[in-house]
Assembly symmetry: C2
Homo-oligomer: 395 residues x 2
């Protein structure tokens, strides 16, 4: 059977099999990147499904429009306008089947074979996969604690010039490091990039998972030219099983996304969208987010305490101020994939850091999720992991 | 803003705006391609959602596996095995977000820029759109009442040779003509194509919408080499708002689809999949299909009667033995897009036939849905359409 050329580049069997091992039920898994299921407001979601089926069953079970259920788009636009002092209209949004679909569609929209995509690195594995499928060259741009490094970005632009079609960034509590860009860096980035005809994919999946007193300003706040495709989602703040997310960009871009949405799956699930807006209009979504952030903050605190006690001194990390992950560096040359194999033997899992680099991967880092396991499992898992790490590093 | 080359080929603004007009609530629309919403078993679906949330709420609201909810895959495999005397295993299936996603992923899997895809014509508009996005050359192969014409297929293969990577077919009650391939033609096709390294996309969306005494044998029944990607869906026999469909192919192909599924949207909606299998295991899905087929058959009968009375003699058509559509040919040179503009002025809509051709479009055909409108609206709409057609043809 003859396949398309793109297929050859997409498989990472080693990681896939490690990840499948992590899904064993007996595993203490710090590898997930999702909210903790005990936070799902199941009773309210059930009530919302009921009401939607009672009040609008036929509509809920029919095709949605390709753009998405209008009342949900209104509710999302209102919320973004309130959170970030914007004036987005519901017609500027399209509902996607998770943010992953927005990433895939962005590849489809912008990328021809051989184009270059810049990534702040490390970066989200799923974005690398989605965009690699469009046969782009994926190029790393280094970050520091304030965000993407403008000088490094300039170097990449000098090197690749017009071949660069897209920059993928996660300015808020990013996956995998949980770092947020500083306000100053956001402005510098947008001022700098405004001089180039390059689209920006702003992935805001973690924006509201904040342990700080106020939300960061999204890059769209500074977007004078309309360069940004903004991706928001309910997967991290509510639940991922509904597959409801959205994209926002200026009209010229959205008109094309609408054509692509029809092409990739006609429309999202009507009932899932209607459930979501019913919930938002009848329950306390903001309160829900506050509640989960309090829980994740307490789990972060527990993990920080344990890690400082159990991990070897050679392992370094920053304290996350939001998001879902702790990012740990081992000494140079220590391969975290090897560490994972040892950890899996003791029924503990995490994600090796190399997977988060589009190129020039560092092998000595690892991503540890703190949102998903119970306190008891965090204590047990981090204690085990610390012990294995000490042996691993001393070898 | 610089977009990918593929974008230029994807827009059909005229059709899009005509279709948007068809969605006006005052319109008698024969343009849809979906089940009639009054057939949705809303109470049973509601009960299924409830039970799933009560019994497995956390799982239902979390990410599904990329392959899809295992019990649903089992239920689908069992049903296909029973219907068609096959021995498919649940591991041979992947759940997709509607068949449209399976079409998109098939483009992604098989097509490089400049490859050729053959279509039995006329063919499903959504497949043309999905596959066009991969910058293939779309080539028409003529059909007769028995299916794709083998001599025409041979001509295309002689002409395009190895450039042909994929053939898209809908052997059962196809969209837009409702024709089914004869059993003889199915065998001839599979014997002929077995000599070539070309993948076959078998879209079985309408297979069970049959007014005949037994189901057709799918092409996979005759697939000795494992060339076929089979696409099944609940959108036509149950409801489209859940976005639950599936693909089946041999392992070599499915392993690659699994990677692509992760890339395009990580996974389908867990709750929608769990609802679907709950319904299948606790209610009478086969009985439901019998019921809707009886309804659609009676609507087809009504439409055939009216069309024979109201349409001008110059309009020709075959009586559908399943599916959702009546396919009507006007005299040569009469453009059905012009007829649609006149019909919309009288609040009646259908889909002009030219949209269903990948190339060499015939302009004098039209697709009329018979499943979706009430008896009253069928009577009113066909009467109006007949009157307009008579004037249009005599001009």
């Amino acid at each position: 059977m003859r396949f398309a050329n793109r297929i050859g580049t997409l498989e990472d069997k080693e990681l896939l099999s490690l990840m499948q091992l992590s899904e064993r039920p007996d595993i203490i898994s710090f590898s997930g990147g999702f909210p903790s299921p005990e936070t799902y407001p199941i009773a309210e979601i059930k009530d919302s499904f009921m009401k939607v089926l009672d009040e609008s069953g036929k509509e809920a079970l029919s095709y949605s429009s390709a753009r998405g259920h209008a009342p949900l788009r209104s509710a999302i636009a209102d919320r973004m306008n309130r959170n970030y002092n914007l004036s987005i209209d519901k017609e500027d949004l399209i509902i996607t089947s998770g943010s992953q679909q927005a990433l895939d569609m962005s590849g489809m929209l912008f990328i021809d074979k051989g184009d270059v995509i810049l990534f702040e690195t490390p970066s989200y594995l799923g974005a690398l996969n989605a965009l690699k499928a469009y046969e782009a060259e994926l190029v790393s741009v280094d970050t520091d604690n304030d965000g993407i490094i403008i000088d490094k970005l300039k170097e990449a632009i000098d090197k690749y010039g017009d071949r660069i079609k897209l920059i993928y960034v996660i300015p808020d509590y990013q996956n995998p490091t949980s770092r947020s860009w500083s306000s100053k860096r956001r402005k510098e980035f947008m001022e700098f990039i405004g001089d180039y005809d390059i689209a920006i994919l702003e992935d805001a999946a973690y924006a509201e998972l904040s342990f700080e007193s106020k939300l960061n300003e999204p890059l769209i706040t500074y977007d004078k030219k309309g360069q940004i495709v903004y991706c928001g989602t309910f997967s991290k703040t509510f639940c991922p099983g509904l597959r409801v997310a959205w994209i926002y960009a200026k009209k010229e871009i959205m008109d094309k996304f609408l054509v692509l949405k029809t092409s990739v799956d006609l429309s999202g699930s009507a009932i899932a969208q209607m459930q979501m807006v019913y919930y938002m209009n009848h329950y306390d979504y903001d309160g829900h987010i506050k509640k989960i952030n309090a829980l994740y903050k307490s789990r972060r605190d527990l993990m920080m305490k344990l890690v400082s006690e159990e991990f070897p001194k050679e392992a370094t990390y920053e304290k996350p101020t939001g998001g879902l992950f702790l990012w740990v560096s081992l000494p140079e040359g220590k391969d975290s994939r090897e560490l994972l194999k040892l950890a899996l033997e003791e029924n503990v899992a995490f994600v090796p850091g190399a997977s988060f680099y589009p190129e020039n991967a560092k092998i000595n880092e690892m991503r540890i999720n703190f949102s998903n396991m119970s306190e008891e499992k965090i204590i047990k898992g981090i204690t085990i992991l610390g012990k294995i790490m000490k042996e691993f590093i001393s070898k």
